[in-house]
Symmetry: C2
Subunit: 182 residues, 2 copies
């Protein structure tokens, strides 16, 4: 894979032969070559699809709601857990470090969208939950967010979506079993 | 989806009935419910799988090579393009903003892993490319990185991996056609 072995790649990586499903596009998958292992190419494609959707969600949240994806994600977790969540719960569910969670929570609290409540049993631990204003704000964003996702996936039939869901379920289970959880 | 409608969800979202492939685990998919649209659940599962692998790659790069994923990604793009890439090329290929690219490039240049070269035709534009030290450093990381990916995917047969690759190809094409590119 060094410069000496392949000084002038032809065709370029983004237009691989036999890769009929791709239109020529430069993205994170462009890093793969014919010789790369199937698993690596699969990972790069998984990453590319996720990044494409994530970037589109970010763009939509910014333009339509003047908000960010981490804020939306945090509110989504709280909406699903109306009893409230600790910082540790949020960190685990959002699969990111605690430091980030604290900053986002501080900002949402300032805007009156979430509130911190002391737990009765242990007064050192806080629960975070959505305020009424936060619930309303999230609901309107979530409705539009779901419409985006449905639209972006709509070229896949429901059968194809179920198949993809099931295959990814198998991958997820395998990752869990290999300890690749967080 | 509000507190009133579902104050005590049972079973909890992470152990949905009929979702036989999942073991109970709390992650970004935990935000989905039975009632969510298939496309939304598919997106959350796609995001969860990608985040699991990405977090595991990050952990491995940190522990085995004392490096970060953005540094590895940038070097990977340069390895595939030995003639060098401009900042704009790198930004497009890594699907992130230019500001991040500049910071990572500065750091890699300080460590002697990449070099900036002025273009002959336009002296205002730089090309970035790997140094010999950078090429060697990347090669050893890439080999181990590929072994990780092969291992993490190994519970899926080659047929299953090809099927998943093809389904994601269809999703990617659909996203491109809908202008969901960056």
């Amino acid at each position: 894979m060094s410069q000496r072995q392949n000084p002038h790649p032809n065709p370029p990586p983004q237009a691989r032969e036999g890769d009929i499903l791709d239109t020529p596009v430069i993205d994170r998958e462009s890093n793969g070559t014919e010789h790369d292992h199937t698993s690596l190419r699969l990972w790069l494609r998984l990453l590319t699809c996720t990044t494409m959707i994530e970037n589109c969600v970010k763009k939509g949240l910014r333009s339509d709601f003047e908000t960010t994806l981490p804020r939306f994600d945090l509110m989504a977790q709280l909406e699903r857990n109306p009893q409230g969540l600790t910082m540790g719960d949020l960190s685990q569910r959002m699969m990111v470090s605690g430091g980030n969670i604290t900053g986002i929570t501080d900002q949402l609290e300032k805007e009156g969208l979430v509130e911190r409540l002391k737990l009765q049993g242990d007064r050192r631990v806080y629960h975070v939950r959505l305020t009424t204003k936060g619930k309303e704000s999230f609901k309107s964003m979530a409705r539009v967010h779901e419409e985006w996702i449905i639209d972006w996936m709509s070229d896949l039939t429901m059968d194809e979506q179920h198949l993809l869901y099931s295959m990814l379920g198998k991958l997820k289970k395998s990752l869990q079993e290999k300890g690749c959880e967080s």
